[in-house]
Each structure stands twice: as structure tokens, then as C-alpha cells.
């Protein structure tokens, strides 16, 4: 059913790959659209739908032009029912198609949560593999755009607790395209979280500085054609010896900025896939550095950082020189006016790194 095109694979350590001949994608939006375009072209069962994704091309433009190119039956608008979008996708996947759906903001996934948790995640298990659910649910995630409590959330921990799901969050265009294509190829349901603050440029948390474009970033240009970044593999974004920082999505850039500014020789790991987790890479790093800071934008309590801290203290107990620190969004809803007091920016990450290093 599916043609097997040439497959360019980008692995953890080899992320410097750049554009090819024609017009490589130079924003995360372009990279995502490009991945969808490749998937729609290669696999006739891929079907893209969601609110405003068809004619209009999505409120973030991630599907712009796809309906025109591939036809309304491959990329179409839906009514405003997240439950319906995901429920329909599950049925369609059970039939044998590959739905790739968009939830307009991660904050609006809750109406679909029952279908995701009780149905998509468990269909393979409860039928011993007779029916499966290879769907991808894309959703813009995170804050930094003055979107307040309902356009800023990072609900990843609500998915990592759900066995049967895979959970992915890219931090740059090259990964975004390669991970999305892997997610679409995956035989199981994948939650694909897109840090919307990264759509148009790498953002390191310095909201008062000019926006820098992806063009100038080493991971900014997603190559043309099909390539895969495998699920379940973290990437080391900065090698270092003093401290390990675990981050994903926007926070990778914030962590890198904090580390540069403090001149701390930290190893910064971009998890990329949260479930299943690349524990090996994490453990190897923390055993080496002996110190660990976990960073995410989601609220602290029961966030995914808790799982990371729990795993690291269990696996690296004898190597740890200091407790694992977590830097996260405060345990409050995401406020509007005080967005930048809420956001765990480089100053907070730097302070945590210093605290962890101070412990002797």
C-alpha cells in the first residue's frame, strides 16, 4: 500500500545535516508542512484533518496549500469537536488509514482526552493486536505568545502517564520534520507536541530581545524529501562535564542560553521523545556529570520532570553529588500580563544550575 521512498535517517549524534538542492524549509512551520506533504505524497492512506486545516491551512499555517495540492479528501476541515476529530481518526485508523490530525491548541485537547486515553492508547492491547490505532495527533504547545491560560499549556505529563501512547516534542525544524515522519510511520498512536513559540525562530527565553530566524540556526533548515529522526532517541545539544540539563521543546534553547551565559560546562540533552524515553543517554550523562537539572515549561507538580527526577535519582544514585533540581512553570494557570514572570526563563534555569553546582 505504501511506497518505500529513499529514506534519509538522522540520528542522535549526527544532527548537523542541512538543506539540499531546492528550497529547504526554514521555519518549523514549513518543516512540519513539508513532512505532511511528503507523507501525503508517499502514502495514499495518510489523511490530514482538523479545525481550519483545510481550505485555510491552519491558524498557524502548518497545512497551508496541502488541500490544494492533495485534494479535499486528503486534507479537510472539521467541525469544532476535538472528541470528534480524534474519535473519527481512531475509527479511520482501525479501517486502515493513517490519520494525522491537528488539535488547534494543546489546551483544547481535553474534550478528546477520553478517546485518546481510553481508546487510542488501548486498542492494540485490548484486541491483542487485531485492531490498531496508528494515528498522529499534532498540537501547538507552550506559552510565550501572550496566549494566557488557554493558549499556553504544556500537557505532556498527561500523556506520558498513559501507557500505549508515544509522546514527542521537537525543538527545531530538522527534528520536527524527521520526527513527524517517524510518528506518521509509527504503528501506534503518537502525540506530537509542537512548541508554538519555536514556530518562527529559536527562542531562548529572552523575550525582550529581537526574534532570531531559524535560517541562521544549525538545526534551522529541514532538508527536502523524506528522512526520519527515530522516536525514542535523545540528542545531546551541548557536550559538557559539570552538569546535565534535561530539556525538550522551547526549553532546550532556554537551557542552552542559560548555560552559555553562566559559562557553566553543562551537557544539555534534548529529549525529543518523552515516551518511550532515551534513558540510556540520560543516565550515561548524569553518571558522568554527577549533577542534573530538569527543565520544562509545564507546571511543576506531577509534571514530566518528576518522572525524570525519579528515574535519575534511581539510576544515578551513587553518582549524584547534588539533588536533581526541577525548573518548571509555577503551579498556577498561565497568566496573561505576567507571562514573563511565569515563564521559566534563562535566569531561573541559570540559578538552578548554580544551586546544583554549589552543593559540594
Amino acid at each position: 500500500m505504501m511506497s518505500m521512498p529513499r529514506c534519509l535517517r538522522i540520528c542522535g549524534g549526527n544532527d548537523s545535516l542541512r538543506g539540499t538542492d531546492a528550497m529547504p524549509a526554514t521555519t518549523m512551520i514549513d518543516a512540519i508542512r513539508d513532512a505532511l506533504d511528503v507523507a501525503l505524497t508517499d502514502d495514499p492512506t495518510v489523511t490530514v484533518f482538523g479545525q481550519d486545516v483545510g481550505y485555510f491551512g491552519g491558524v498557524f499555517r502548518c497545512t497551508a496549500g496541502l488541500q490544494k495540492k492533495h485534494g479535499i479528501d486528503r486534507c479537510f476541515d472539521t467541525p469544532i469537536s476535538e472528541l470528534g476529530i480524534v474519535g473519527v481518526a481512531i475509527g479511520m485508523a482501525a479501517y486502515g488509514r493513517k490519520p494525522v490530525v491537528e488539535i488547534q491548541f494543546a489546551d483544547y485537547m481535553y474534550p478528546a482526552y477520553d478517546q485518546i486515553v481510553s481508546e487510542a492508547a488501548r486498542l492494540r492491547y485490548r484486541t491483542a493486536g487485531e485492531f490498531t490505532c496508528p494515528i498522529v495527533i499534532r498540537m501547538p504547545t507552550g506559552g510565550g505568545i501572550f496566549g494566557a491560560q488557554t493558549h499556553s499549556q504544556s500537557p505532556e505529563a498527561l500523556f506520558t502517564h498513559v501507557t500505549g501512547l508515544k509522546v514527542v516534542m521537537p525543538s527545531n525544524p530538522i527534528d520536527a520534520k524527521g520526527l513527524l515522519l517517524s510518528a506518521i510511520d509509527d504503528p501506534d498512536p503518537v502525540i506530537f507536541l509542537e512548541p508554538k513559540r519555536l514556530y518562527n525562530g529559536p527562542f531562548d527565553g529572552h523575550h525582550d530581545r529581537p526574534v532570531s530566524p531559524w535560517r541562521t540556526h544549525p538545526m534551522g533548515e529541514a532538508p527536502l524529501g523524506r528522512y526520519l529522526v527515530p522516536l525514542g532517541q535523545a540528542a545531546i545539544r551541548r557536550k559538557g562535564a559539570a552538569l546535565t540539563v534535561l530539556a525538550y521543546g522551547t526549553m532546550v534553547h532556554v537551557a542552552l542560553a542559560a548555560v552559555e551565559e553562566t559559562a557553566i560546562d553543562a551537557e544539555v540533552i534534548d529529549l525529543r521523545t518523552l515516551l518511550p524515553l532515551d534513558l540510556e543517554t540520560i543516565v550515561a550523562s548524569v553518571r558522568k556529570t554527577g549533577r542534573c537539572v530538569v527543565v520544562h515549561e509545564a507546571t511543576l507538580t506531577s509534571g514530566f520532570g518528576a518522572e525524570l527526577a525519579a528515574l535519575v535519582q534511581a539510576e544515578c544514585f551513587w553518582h549524584l553529588h547534588a539533588p536533581v533540581e526541577r525548573v518548571a512553570g509555577w503551579d498556577t494557570p498561565y497568566p496573561h500580563t505576567n507571562e514573563w514572570d511565569y515563564f521559566p526563563g534563562p535566569a531561573r534555569v541559570a540559578a538552578a544550575c548554580r544551586r546544583v553546582l554549589e552543593v559540594q
Partner: protein, 413 residues
């Protein structure tokens, strides 16, 4: 603020009678068999409003099939006879499995008593490759399609012969080849999935249709709404079935229905043609289901069908209905027993007799017991061969990720 002028009041819907009182179905308006018209399948929804408030009935009190739906029903004698056989088989199967649960061979069971006609007859509207998205009360779909009964029993026992490896609650069957989608414990979720499946078929240029199933009480769930929105919006080739068996555990159907006269009426708000059918009339179910499946096959869009029936037994083996409804209520149910009604029809048609019926009952019980023996040779819930605990870790994902492998090892496998 001003003092309260006229205190507001809510309405609390209650069934006509509760335990201790005489059963009373006088509120149920029963039109005579054959009295409702049969509109062309491509009539606009707006011109078929009456169909959502009438009742399609073919079998009259004498067992004759009458009226326009009967006249156009293409069902030979053999099919009518196997219809009876399927219902008898389902009833015998239920009786044995109920007993098995009482004997603690399994944890739980749910019967179809009184509702056998619906799933057994609906099967005749489908073709191979079509897909049902059932609830826990449509095992007749499996029986009518010839699914091996011993395998059903293995599922109920959760033994090593259970295709779903002891993972699901008893009666949560699953069979792709027999057009029977996995049952979910979460009410309603399957309704919108059926719509998605049918959309998948259409988008693939296929001709397979889907059938969604839901109970009267569960129509209140969100998935029901989403299903109707999408089915109506894209004119999806799906048959949307509502089994109104009067009860949702202890809650009578009037609460979920609210101010609407019928559940079928729900379709009208979406421009979806809706039929209301005597669910205890095997022939009526076949006729209505075929009408709806023809609409689907001709890409005319979805049809909503309400089957009016009665849940004779408790909700499940965990339930005691005498706590919330008069004990004699089922005996007074005016639509009768679906088996007896089809039997009467076959007799009236000269195809059947009391003697043959008694003989068939014995034969069927023999078959059911043989299947049960076969299943029990593998095991029951608490004895015999069960799926290895190591299998607990399979099928969470297509490929077992490292953390699950570690857990399996920790578990000792």
C-alpha cells in the same frame, strides 16, 4: 435584590411505576403492525419526520407479516428459520454463561434476554467486510455470522483460548473477520469511531459500511453528539443504531430522552433520517436495517434507527433490577418476546411447529454445551490454562519499549 417572586421548579422524570406497584405500559403508544409507510430511501430527511415517531412493525398479533415494509422484504424461508435459530442460540448461550458466572467460572456476565432480535436480525443488512461498533449487548451479530461459540466462551472465561488474552472484561469480544469491533468499557466511544471507520472506507474508494451501536442511556454521552455532527456533516455511510431497552442500569429511558418523544427524534436535529422500529420484531429489524444500509451503500448518508425493546434481565450479573422496577414488568412488556413472535410467524407460515421448536431447543442446547465443554477444556477464569502473565506486557505497543521490557523482567518473565 428583590424578594423571590415565583420560585422556579425543576422537573424530575420518573418511570410510571416503581417496585411495589403494578407494571404499566399504557404510556407506550403502539401503532398496529403494517400501519407505517415505507418512504423511498432517497427521500429528504425533512419529509420523513413521521418515521421518527411511528413504529415500524411487520408481525401482527397472528404472526403475519403485513404492510409496505413486509411487502418489500426480500427474505426467504430459510433465512427466516435461521433467524429463529440464531435467537434461540443466543438465548441458550446466555443461559449457560449466566450459570457459568454463578458457578464462579468467570467474574461477570451480561445477557441479551428480550433483545435477541436486534443484533441477530441486523446482521442481515451487512455484507462481509462491513464493520459493527457494538456495545456489550450485540453478541447476536457474532452468532448470526457464525463466529465460533467456543471462542466466545474462551473470551468470557479469559482463558488461554481467549483471542484477547484475558485482557478484557467478559463479553468484550472482538473479531475483525466477523465485522465486530472491539468493545470498549467506556460507553459511547465507539459511536464516533464507527463514523470514522466509514469515512475511512469512503476515502479509500471502498464499498464497506459501518454500523454504530449505543444504548438509550448512553445517547447522553458526548460521543453520540460528535458522531451525529460528523456523520451529518460529511454524509457518512454509517447506520447509527440506538437500542432503547427502557433501562440504563436503574435509570429509565425517559431521563436521557428528556422532552423528546423518542430517541429517533435526535436525528431530526441534524437532518439525519430516523426510523423507530419494533425491536422485538425480527422482520421489522431486518427491513429497517436494510433500508438504512441501502442509504449508506448509495452514499446517501447516515440513518438513525431506534429499536424499541425491553431489557428483561438485570443490567449485568452485578445488578438486581427488582430494587428499581416492578418484578413483573417484563412479562407485561407489550411488544412480547422476540423469539415467540418469530416462532409464531414461522408456524403461521407453515415452516415450523411446537414439536420442531422443542427439538431445536434441545439440539441447540446440545451445541452450546459442547462448545462450553470445549472452552472449559482450556480453562475458566480461576482454573485451567490462562494466558501467561508475561503476555500482560505484549501489545501495549507494536514493539516493546525498554521500560516495559525492564518491568517484565522485574515481574519475573
Amino acid at each position: 435584590m428583590k424578594p423571590v417572586e415565583r420560585p422556579l421548579e425543576l422537573f424530575f422524570a420518573e418511570p410510571a411505576v416503581r417496585p411495589g406497584a403494578e407494571p404499566d405500559f399504557s404510556g407506550l403508544d403502539l401503532p398496529a403492525a403494517g400501519s407505517l409507510r415505507r418512504p423511498p430511501v432517497d427521500s429528504p430527511a425533512e419529509e420523513m419526520r413521521d418515521m421518527a415517531f411511528g413504529l415500524i412493525r411487520l408481525l401482527d398479533d397472528d404472526g403475519q407479516a403485513v404492510g409496505p415494509w413486509a411487502d418489500t422484504l426480500d427474505l426467504d424461508d430459510a433465512a427466516r428459520m435461521s433467524g429463529l435459530r440464531h435467537m434461540m442460540t443466543l438465548r441458550a448461550y446466555d443461559a449457560r454463561m449466566l450459570l457459568a458466572q454463578r458457578q464462579q467460572k468467570t467474574s461477570f456476565y451480561m445477557q441479551h434476554l428480550g433483545e435477541e432480535a436486534i443484533s441477530c436480525a441486523f446482521h442481515l443488512a451487512l455484507r462481509s467486510g462491513d464493520m459493527n461498533f457494538p456495545t456489550y449487548r450485540q453478541a447476536g451479530l457474532l452468532i448470526a455470522s457464525g463466529y465460533p461459540m467456543a471462542t466466545m466462551m474462551c473470551q468470557v472465561y479469559g482463558n488461554d483460548g481467549d483471542p484477547v488474552r484475558g485482557r478484557q472484561l467478559p463479553v468484550f469480544y472482538s473479531s475483525k473477520s466477523h465485522g465486530f469491533f472491539s468493545i470498549s468499557g467506556n460507553l459511547g466511544t465507539q459511536y464516533v469511531q464507527a463514523v470514522g471507520w466509514a469515512m475511512g472506507s469512503a476515502l479509500s474508494g471502498d464499498d464497506k459500511i459501518a454500523a454504530a451501536w449505543i444504548g438509550d442511556g448512553s445517547t447522553a454521552e458526548s460521543d453520540f453528539h460528535a458522531a451525529l455532527v460528523f456523520a451529518s456533516g460529511y454524509r457518512v455511510p454509517v447506520v447509527l443504531n440506538i437500542v432503547n431497552n427502557q433501562w440504563a442500569i436503574s435509570t429509565f429511558q425517559g431521563l436521557a430522552r428528556g422532552g423528546a418523544g423518542t430517541f429517533a427524534a435526535r436525528g431530526l436535529g441534524f437532518g439525519i433520517p430516523a426510523l423507530r422500529v419494533d425491536g422485538n420484531d425480527y422482520l421489522a429489524v431486518v427491513a429497517a436495517a436494510r433500508w438504512a444500509s441501502e442509504r449508506a451503500r448509495r452514499s446517501l448518508g447516515p440513518t438513525l434507527i431506534e429499536y424499541v425493546t425491553y431489557r428483561v434481565a438485570g443490567h449485568s450479573t452485578s445488578d438486581d433490577p427488582s430494587a428499581y422496577r416492578p418484578s413483573g414488568e417484563s412479562a407485561c412488556w407489550p411488544l412480547g418476546d422476540p423469539l415467540m413472535r418469530l416462532k409464531q410467524h414461522l408456524i403461521a407460515r407453515g415452516l415450523w411447529s411446537e414439536d420442531r421448536h422443542v427439538q431445536a431447543e434441545a439440539e441447540i442446547m446440545g451445541e452450546v454445551q459442547a462448545a462450553q465443554k470445549e472452552a472449559e477444556q482450556i480453562g475458566t477464569l480461576h482454573s485451567g490454562r490462562r494466558p501467561s502473565p508475561a503476555e500482560m506486557f505484549n501489545d501495549v505497543y507494536a514493539e516493546m519499549p525498554p521500560h516495559l521490557r525492564r518491568q517484565r523482567q522485574l515481574a519475573g518473565y
